[in-house]
């Protein structure tokens, strides 16, 4: 026990001796947590629209004003020919071109049938799909209203209609920040923890101080524990600051209990730090440690379910996410903060991450001792 205390003293001294890293470690997550969640809104709105109106009839004008008043579209301008409209799309000044052919009104009245054309920038497929669907819906509604004007007789036998009512639970106002802030906090916590611990042992190797520890009577698991505990405490501290920012800046108060978040984070941090130490004991230079942790971080963050949904991924990628501790914590955060889930609801996540922590740390101890 006393050896651990000595190692702890050494580790803490090393951390506090380097105030730049300490400042970065505390400031960077806080700043990013304040700024970045505001960027995270991928609702399809503000679609920039160019209208090519060759008809210039009353109907065409009515339809366009109906589209612009819907709130989804920003009218970028009216062009007179297709080439200049496509030019707008090419230069990323417009997402969607609506072309109303000449004789639009005449065909509609005389031949009962008229056409409009849409060209959508589909590089972002989902945005293109939803944008054109919105536009089609508005045109269909407009179509409906014309029809009602022309067919005067009241319907004696109305068609059966299915009404749908939509409700959004757990986040009634559809506030993106409620969802993104806890998620981003998890990512920041993970990066800080994993990188610090990954750089740690290898740094001693590079500087050469690892030899001194190897020849001293310190036991391997004492050494690993001595490395783990300081970072674990720092991690909890970063989490606390993050939760404070969430509460003060964004007014996010968990529907569940803070205790549960800390319970999970204490297990989670063990897993992440274990991963870092494992990387650290296998590589020879800090550069390698950084590259490997960058690779693992990027995969686990992008596949973590915060940015894109896990169910939409191909099956093999879903298997990868089962071994991704980040996705478990993001889900737990979402459950506890937004839905108020209790201990029983998250027990599966807790046990899984506990398993990760156990395996990774045991492995780290073994990997370290091999190198002696």
């Amino acid at each position: 026990m006393r050896t651990i205390l000595f190692i702890l003293e050494k580790e803490f001294r090393q951390i506090f001796r380097d105030p730049t890293v300490l400042r970065l470690m505390l400031l960077m997550p806080v700043i990013q947590l304040i700024v970045l969640p505001m960027a995270a809104d991928y609702e399809v709105k503000n679609i920039r629209l160019v209208v090519l109106d060759h008809d210039k009839s009353t109907y065409a004008r009515q339809m366009v004003s109906k589209i612009t008043s819907s709130g989804y579209f920003l009218l970028d301008g009216s062009m007179s020919n297709m080439a200049s409209a496509m030019n707008e799309v090419e230069h990323d000044r417009a997402d969607l071109v609506l072309e109303i052919p000449a004789d639009f009104e005449k065909n509609l009245v005389r031949e009962n049938n008229s056409q409009v054309f849409m060209a959508v920038n589909a590089i972002n497929g989902v945005r293109a799909n939803l944008g054109s669907a919105y536009l089609s819906t508005i045109i269909r509604d407009y179509n409906e209203s014309i029809r009602l004007k022309w067919i005067q007789q009241p319907r004696s036998n109305p068609e059966p209609r299915i009404e749908t009512t939509n409700s959004n639970w757990y986040n009634v106002h559809m506030n993106y920040r409620q969802f993104m802030v806890p998620g981003i906090l998890v990512i920041l916590l993970t990066m800080v923890g994993a990188i610090l611990s990954a750089l740690n042992i290898v740094r001693e190797k590079e500087i050469g101080t690892i030899e001194q520890i190897n020849v001293s009577p310190i036991r391997k698991h004492h050494f690993i524990l001595g490395k783990l505990i300081p970072f674990w405490i720092m991690g909890q501290f970063v989490l606390t600051m993050g939760l404070t920012v969430a509460r003060v800046v964004y007014g996010i108060v968990p529907a569940g209990s803070y205790g549960l978040i800390y319970l999970f984070s204490s297990v989670y941090l063990l897993a992440i730090l274990g991963l870092g130490l494992l990387i650290s004991s296998y590589v020879q230079t800090q550069q390698q440690a950084m590259l490997i942790s960058f690779f693992i971080m990027m995969v686990s963050i992008l596949l973590g379910g915060l940015y894109t949904s896990i169910e939409s991924m191909p099956v093999w990628a879903q298997y990868i996410t089962r071994f991704n501790a980040v996705s478990y914590f993001i889900e737990v955060m979402r459950m506890v903060v937004l839905k108020g889930s209790g201990l029983r609801d998250i027990s599966r996540h807790l046990y899984t991450v506990m398993g990760f922590a156990l395996v990774l740390n045991t492995w780290a101890v073994l990997a370290y001792s091999k190198r002696q």
């Binding site: 989902v126 269909r140 059966p160 749908t164 939509n166 800090q286």
Partner: protein
Amino acid sequence: MHIWRDKRTLFILFGMPIAQMLIFGFALTNEVKNSRIAVLDPSKDQYSTRLVERISASNYFDLQDNLHNPADIDKAFKKGDIRAAIIFPEHFMDQLLHSKSVAIQIIADASDPNIATTVTNYANAIIRDFQDDLLNNPSYPYTIQTNVRMLYNPQLKGAFNFVPGVMSMILLLVCTMMTSVSIVREKELGTMEVLLASPSRPGLVIAAKALPYLFLSIINICTILLLSVFVLELPIRGNLILLMAESILFIITALSLGLLISIITDSQRTAMFISLVGMFLPTLMLSGFMFPIENMPKPLQIISNIVPAKWFFIIVKAVMLKGLGLAAIWKETLILFGMTAFLLLVAMKKFKIRL
């Protein structure tokens, strides 16, 4: 010489971008598919079962649970099992046929608002289709037909958006990280003194540090492009030479950024911290490939301008997918040039001060 000596680093450097392009090219999509849903259908008549079948047959939804009483809804959500619940009323068919109107309730788990909106839209669309089929009278008078043409990406593949995004992200981060460590490493090991004492000019030292990484990154660009064309089936519609030239410019921007970080820090740990923790999320979130920049509040739109990946993302989309020439992207190119010049200038200045 330093670089070649270290076989393991070299292996990681080449292997990593390949693995990442493959994983993200296939796995990332902001489409919402296979969402797990639960259905509460107390009527279980002919129409309601048909509608449920239609919903679960679509590849947007995955029917997870048949609930039996309203109290179970909350439980199912809290366990995190389902994204949405669809609630039918009792006597669905009777109400539809006799009172001509019936209500279905869709409850979405809005703890992820993006997915909630999409899931609700899909469910509504399926129900509307179902209703149209029931009505079954196709020829209305006064019909406006809409013809939609999807430009550049007619199959609406997710990779068209994500590949240029991931490409700019990987290039920027890997290049910056590698160089940011290079000079500071010499400082830590003490070999910097040797270099400075030698008669070579500081500019030369800096250039010599960056060159091998430039070379490595060009190889990486080639593998990434080969992968995108042959494995991810993306077209290169524009001029390949232009694309390469722009990529090299972007790499130089990233290398200069790395050099600057390397010069202003004094330990590898600090350098890595800035280039990884400091740059990862801002690049991911502000470059425009994850979240549309138009949706961001004004201050963030302005901040996004200093993210080099944003400009390269625009360039890659324009040259590779839209097939445009230099005339369309001269502004973005100029911005990258400007950034590079600025970064190099600051780096030189700081470097001399330390002499």
